[in-house]
Structure formats: C-alpha cells, structure tokens
Symmetry: C2
Subunit: 313 residues, 2 copies
C-alpha cells in the first residue's frame, strides 16, 4: 500500500507530462451550499481525466529495460487512453485490450494516442491480457490497483492542497478507488483534520456497503448508471486505504447525477462527465452539514457523449 | 479614446471583483494548427463572460455620489447581467432596459443579479433609457462605447500577456468592438510586435468592411448568426482604435462557428458560446499562416442554450 512519499515522488515524476489543472470557484454554488467550494478540474487534464496522472507515473516509473518492452492494460474507458498517452510521451509500445462491445469512438481514441488495440470478448479479457503479457514481456498496468497508479492519482489532491491549504473536506468519486485512495493518503499527510468523502452511484454501491460492513463487497453486475466510469468494483488495496483513512461514502441517485452534470455545463461552463458530477450530487445531499465549510471537490473527468443532457425539442 | 494607463488602472480597480481566469492549452489544437495556442478562458469569468471586467470598471470607477444614484444600461445579453453583477458588488441600484422580445431566461438572469428590469419595444429602447436616466439621475453605462468599459475589457489581454509574454498574435471576437479595442491597446503597449486579429461572423461583417474601406459601416440588420453576441455594429471609438492598431478582421461562416464551439465542448471540455468560438473558426481559416506561431485567443463567454449543438438521435 502506498504512502505519501509515493505521492510526492509521483508529483516530481509526472511534472511536465500532465497539466497542473486550474481550481475554479463559483459563487452560485457557494450560495447554494452555504460553503466555499474549490473545484479541482481534472476534466481539463490531459486525455480529459485524472487517469493521465497515474498512467504517467506508472510508465515513467519503469526501469528502462522494462519500459522498452512496453506496457499493457485492459480498459474500455479513460485509463486505456491515459496509458496510451503516457507510453507515447515516453516513446514506448502500448497495448490496450478492449471488449469488442466498446464503442468505436473509444477504440479510435486509444488508437489516436498511438496504442495498439486488441479487441476480445469481455469474458476473455483477463486471459487475453495474460497471454499477451507473457508473449511480449510487457508490463501490465492495472487501472486502479497498481501502486504507481494510485500514487499518481493522489497528486491531484496534492496540487489542490498546495493552492487551497485550509480545507475542511475533500470529496472524489469512487469506482475502483484509485483516485479516492490516493486522495485519502495525501489529505491525511497534508491536512489530517480534513474529512475525505467519496461519491458513488446508488446503482453500484459496493464501496458504500464494503465500508459499512468492513468486508469488501463484490462488484455490482448488470446495473445501469450514467456514472460509467464508476461501474467497476472497489479494488482490494484501495478498500484497505479507504478504511484506514475513515473515508465516508455518500451514494447518489441518477437524477441527482444528471442535475449536477447539467449545473457544471450551464453555470460553471465546464464539461464534467456524469462520473465526476457525482461529487456535487453528493454534496447537495448532505448540504445541512456543510455550512461554513471549505470544500475541495475533485472533478475526475470530462469525457462524455452528452447522452445524459436533457433532449431539446 | 483609452490608453494603456486606463487598462492598468482598470486592472487595479476590478481586482477581487472578477476572476483571474485560467489560460488553457490543448495539444490536439496545437497539432491541428501547427502552432502553440493559449486560450484565455473568459467563459469561466464571473457572469460567464469578459463583460464582467468592463462593467466592474465602470461601476467602481464612479464617484460615490454618482454611484449612489445607480447605473443603467440597455442590453439583451451579457452586458446587462454584468452591470447588474457589478452594481450589486458595489451595493448600488441597477436598471436594465431590455427588449420585450428577450427570452424569459435572460430577463430572469439579470433580475437574479439583483437589477430592476424595464421591458420595452426594441425600437423605443433609446428613448426609454434616456427618460429613465433623466428621471432617476442614473449613469448610463454603454455596453461597448463607454471608455471605462473598453479599458476594463483590455484587462483580459493584460493577464494573458502577464502569463504568456511572448505571443506573436492575439485574437478576439468583434461585435461592438469593446473587447477587441481594449485588447489592441494592451497588446500595443506590452507586445507591440504581436498582431491583433478579430473574428467576425460573415453574416454581420460590418467590422471587416469598415476596416477594409476606412469608413465605419452601419450595423447589418436582419441577419442571422449563431454569434448572437456579435450582432451589434462596431462602435465609433472602437473603430478608430482598431484602425490605429491595424487590427485585421477575419470573417467566418456559421458551420465553422458550430464546429469550433463543438471542438471546445468535446476536446477542451469547456463551454464556449458561438460568439466566442469564432476565434477558433478564424484561426482554422488562416492555418497556413500560423506555423510555429504563439497565439493567444480570448474566449469571450460561455453563455449559451446549446441550440447549436448537433441534435442527438
């Protein structure tokens, strides 16, 4: 499990390869919540998501010989694009195993960053990845359990706390838990009196139930949520980090997620994907607790097809 | 006509009342244009547009006695909301004359900032404004001809050049010309070797024809453009400032405007209203000239109802 020293090392390693994203404020939001809110805009990050941080830390953290053999992952989302981006930055091969059900636009995006894509049946994903890893000697970079990835994700909160040190509360979305775990480690080191919250769609509430029961619950299968980046189950090391740092999970409904994403678009003029908008939905649901607090929220990404946007007539 | 000293004074006056907006970069855009582009995000400004700068400078530039009587303007767009915002910040009355054809949502926005709204027939706008100004002793703040407004708008380019000094070219949209004139004055003072460009919809190309002929051309009436913030004619003092500083106007078609606004949304994850997106459309149309150049573009605002967004099916 990672420590804050790993986050510090990640920050030094990825500097120049990722954006130092802006922190935005919005008076309308502050009035609504009776609090001061600072939005760390990872939607404005390279590849449109915080995933660029972890992927760059993993790729640039490899020894030269291993790096030369390349990196591999399985992902249908932002991590695949992020790893492809990082590999191209270092000039090493990258292979992304994607389900053959993945939208063509996502496959094209990963290829656009210069990676090789192997399509397979979703059920065969692990077997195909393992075989390719064996055959090519590539390093597997897990989307949210790789320690270098988790440490890299923690650098967003590091920058946020450098810019706004006196926060009372920091909230991130939770899916596999890499962002939330990296954030919890960082906040515990730099601002131990601040609470760390995690926002999770009710439809896939395994993290909430895992922390409530103290036993990691399996991924919810077959659910539907606009938070497509949060459908995965909470990773084992992240579960332990979230428990250790007393992270509180707040679950949110689909209508609240859409309303939050719409608020970002209409009022803050930024594109936040529904997975990222869960943090605002969560804050709204606990608004009575927030009076006078200083809140950091990590907006995880901005990659969306706008299918959630209320249709115009 | 304003000088750079007025812009400097404006910057000091409005500090704390407006955002210092972020400057974003995008590798995809740099690759496409073969240049380095720096986007000054006035879409992330208070009230969603650079207009907050000029309005704050005008309101905070008033003597106490005049300020106490309040400010007045006629506007169906961002300037009305911006003046209302500035007046509330100073705690003085604000009255906005709006055409009775204005969308209810815009009227509500201005009222939401605490201003009184008077609706009238668009043809009677000037007469109604003059009468109210007389009756109430309010100060009229013209949307783009007031010198304090023009100087305030110049502070966006001032911040941009503070952050990225070595620009070869700066581009803004042009409608009434306040933003472009303020930018031209600032660039001439801080970076005289840089060219200043203005982007204008072909449908309302009076600025282009004014500068081409050396005679200010009347506003184009009855035209239609997605660039609803740019439908007004070029103001007299701004015309002279644009001529004096050799500003070059690049006109752009409607499809190019929509494509540019869509690019901002999908690739840069920010909401840029079509008027603001004209700058990217203009750069694309002169791409062969841009190789290796460092370009600042001022994204003027983010207030839009997304009617231009290609419909989903």
């Amino acid at each position: 499990m990672i420590t804050f020293a790993d986050v510090r090392a990640a920050a030094a390693r990825i500097r120049g390869h990722v954006h130092r994203t802006p922190v935005l404020t919005c008076q309308t939001l502050d009035h609504e919540l009776g609090a001061r809110v600072f939005a760390k805009c990872e939607n404005l990050q390279k590849v449109g998501a915080f995933k660029a941080r972890g992927a760059c830390n993993a790729v640039f953290g490899l020894e030269a010989a291993a790096a030369a053999r390349g990196v591999l992952t399985h992902s249908s989302g932002n991590h695949g694009a992020a790893l492809a981006y990082a590999a191209r930055k270092r000039g090493v091969p990258c292979l992304v195993v994607m389900p053959d059900s993945a939208p063509a636009v996502k496959v094209a995006a990963v290829r656009g960053y210069g990676a090789e894509v192997v399509l397979c049946n979703a059920a065969e994903r692990d077997a195909v990845s393992a075989r390719l890893q064996r055959e090519r000697g590539m390093t597997l970079v897990h989307p949210f359990e790789d320690p270098l990835v988790v440490a890299g994700q923690g650098t967003a909160a590091l920058e946020l706390l450098e810019e706004v040190p006196e926060l009372d509360l920091v909230i991130t979305p939770v899916g596999g838990g890499g962002l939330c775990a990296g954030t919890a480690v960082t906040v515990a080191a730099l601002r131990p009196q601040a609470a760390v919250l995690a926002a999770e769609p009710q439809a896939v509430d395994d993290a909430a139930r895992s922390l409530a029961t103290g036993v990691r619950q399996p991924r919810v299968d077959g659910a539907r949520s606009w938070g497509d980046g949060l459908m995965t189950g909470l990773g084992e090391p992240n579960f332990h980090l979230l428990r250790q740092h007393h992270v509180r999970v707040v679950t949110v409904g689909e209508d609240a997620i859409v309303a939050a994403a719409t608020f970002f678009l209409q009022r803050m003029k930024i594109v936040v994907e529904p997975s990222g908008a869960t943090v605002l939905a969560a804050l709204r649901s606990i608004e009575p607790e927030l009076a006078g607090r200083r809140i950091g929220m990590v907006l995880s990404g901005g990659n969306t097809d706008f299918a959630w946007l209320p249709q115009r007539h």
